[in-house]
């Protein structure tokens, strides 16, 4: 089951990830196919998104990994830094989005928990997921275990009110 304490705060999830907790990336339990279980969006993120009028369906394009711009890119289980290519509502490009990648399923799952604007200020808690085409986040069959090799370098990020 999901630890409610971790679920409640996006920061806590990131903290756990960064500290190298290996049991499951992001502290979220996994389904049998290796994809993460549903997860609630933290109250803090819901409140921040409401203030910023970031409603479900608001979307933008991101460079999936700020450190890799040439295809193919290799994603590893764990934290990821993505870069906005256009504005996500009031969050301007090229703000960074911090999230967590799960690669054990047939396709990579990326959940975002925070945005870092580039003009200073605090991180903004939010809930968003990466989506791309029809199965385009599907990892290449030659992906080594614990990684997802993708042919795309960019994806769309959609605001959600809960991770499903």
């Amino acid at each position: 089951m999901i630890s409610t304490q971790w679920v409640r705060s996006g920061c806590a999830i990131l903290f756990v990830t960064f500290s190298g907790c290996a049991t499951s990336a992001g502290g979220v339990a996994l389904r049998s196919d290796g994809t993460p279980e549903p997860e609630k969006c933290s109250e803090e993120a819901l409140k921040a998104m409401n203030y910023l009028r970031l409603f479900v369906g608001e979307a933008a394009v991101v460079q999936i990994d700020a450190n890799q711009s040439a295809r193919p890119i290799t994603l590893h289980d764990g934290p990821i830094e993505s870069q906005l290519e256009n504005d996500l509502g009031l969050i301007d490009a090229p703000s960074r989005l911090y999230g967590v990648v799960w690669t054990r399923g047939a396709q990579a799952v990326i959940r975002y928990y925070e945005a870092q604007p580039m003009n200073g200020g605090n991180k903004i808690p939010l809930c968003a997921v990466a989506r791309l085409g029809k199965g385009q986040l599907r990892k290449r069959p030659d992906s080594p275990p614990g990684t997802a090799v993708l042919d795309a370098t960019t994806a769309a990020v959609f605001i959600v009110d809960s991770f499903r």
């Binding site: 933008a60 394009v61 085409g133 029809k134 385009q136 042919d151 370098t153 769309a156």
Partner: protein
């Protein structure tokens, strides 16, 4: 199959090798080009665009001297020159490479030497094949004037049609929106990102973004031409209904007419809600994008929820 198409809009930015590349050329009228010779030093050697196994005829006002008419380094590339009275006939065995050029010297019976350079027709939209070239030395002769006038009239027709199209597009709401999207002014439009695709083809990166607007759908396609030498340009775009294949209106704007090797360009397309209505019901439509040579470069399914109100 239907199950797969359901959840989202299917974007297939893949080359579908259904249309032969020569398709668009074969339907064109014969290429007869008048050529006025000038003695001005600025005038470079005249180029003749030739294609493998297509006959090109040069027609002069005076008879040609066969003994002093020759090509250099043509062996294995072209059939031997044929000179018939005032005509020179060329036939390449195969297409020339982009960096190949074959010098041709034609000598007329009065001793005038006219140099030419044979070049491949090329893949650019303007890369036609010359089928007949009427060469005039005397600018004042009736046929020369007639040829020049005809050419000017043809150009005038093309420009008039283009002008009329521009005037029509100037006042069209959809073209205005397409122009905003092409210039990157998304914030000035009502469009919201609905779907995104990142694909690649041989020599081409295609990023397609589908937007939902107020009773309108928009598609913005970012194309990066990775080919080392081939420029890329769009011939046309059209929208067909999924069920019966009826063609519907689409407004298109491109950031540039031709995308040079290594460069990027943006194409924006706007479809009105009415394009999605067939027999009174909202239906899916296919957006097709054709490359300059007639190849279908992208096929994008647009689902009715893009124009839902």
């Amino acid at each position: 199959m239907m199950r797969l198409l359901r959840p989202y809009f299917l974007v297939v930015p893949l080359v579908l090798l259904a249309t032969p590349a020569a398709f668009s050329r074969e339907n064109e009228p014969p290429r007869v080009r008048p050529l006025l010779l000038s003695e001005h030093p600025d005038q470079p050697t005249h180029r003749i665009n030739v294609k493998g196994q297509v006959v090109t005829t040069l027609r002069f006002e005076l008879a040609v001297d066969p003994s002093k008419t020759k090509m250099i380094g043509w062996e294995g590339r072209l059939e031997a020159l044929a000179v018939v009275r005032n005509k020179v006939i060329l036939e390449p065995l195969h297409d020339l490479e982009a960096d190949e050029g074959i010098p041709l010297l034609v000598t007329l019976e009065d001793g005038t030497e006219v140099p030419f350079l044979l070049r491949p027709a090329g893949h650019e939209p303007w890369g036609w094949t010359d089928q007949q070239l009427n060469v005039f030395k005397d600018r004042e002769s009736y046929t020369a004037m007639n040829g020049a006038l005809k050419r000017a009239l043809e150009q005038n027709d093309v420009l008039t049609a283009e002008n009329a199209r521009h005037r029509k597009e100037e006042n069209s709401e959809d073209h205005a929106l397409a122009a905003l999207l092409v210039s990157g002014a998304l914030a000035q439009t009502p469009f919201k990102l609905a779907h995104y695709e990142d694909g690649r083809d041989e020599g081409l990166d295609i990023k397609a973004t589908l937007y939902k607007g107020k009773g309108k759908a928009a598609v913005v396609i970012l194309i990066k031409n990775r080919s080392p030498e081939q420029p890329w340009s769009m011939k046309s775009a059209r929208i067909l209904t999924a069920a019966s294949g009826q063609e519907r209106a689409v407004a298109t704007r491109s950031s540039r007419a031709t995308i040079a090797p290594g460069e990027s360009g943006v194409i924006a397309l706007i479809a009105d809600r009415s394009a999605f209505i067939e027999e009174g019901k909202l239906t899916s439509v296919f957006l097709e994008l054709y490359r300059h040579d007639g190849l279908r470069q992208a096929l994008i399914q647009l689902d009715p929820d893009l124009v839902a109100q």
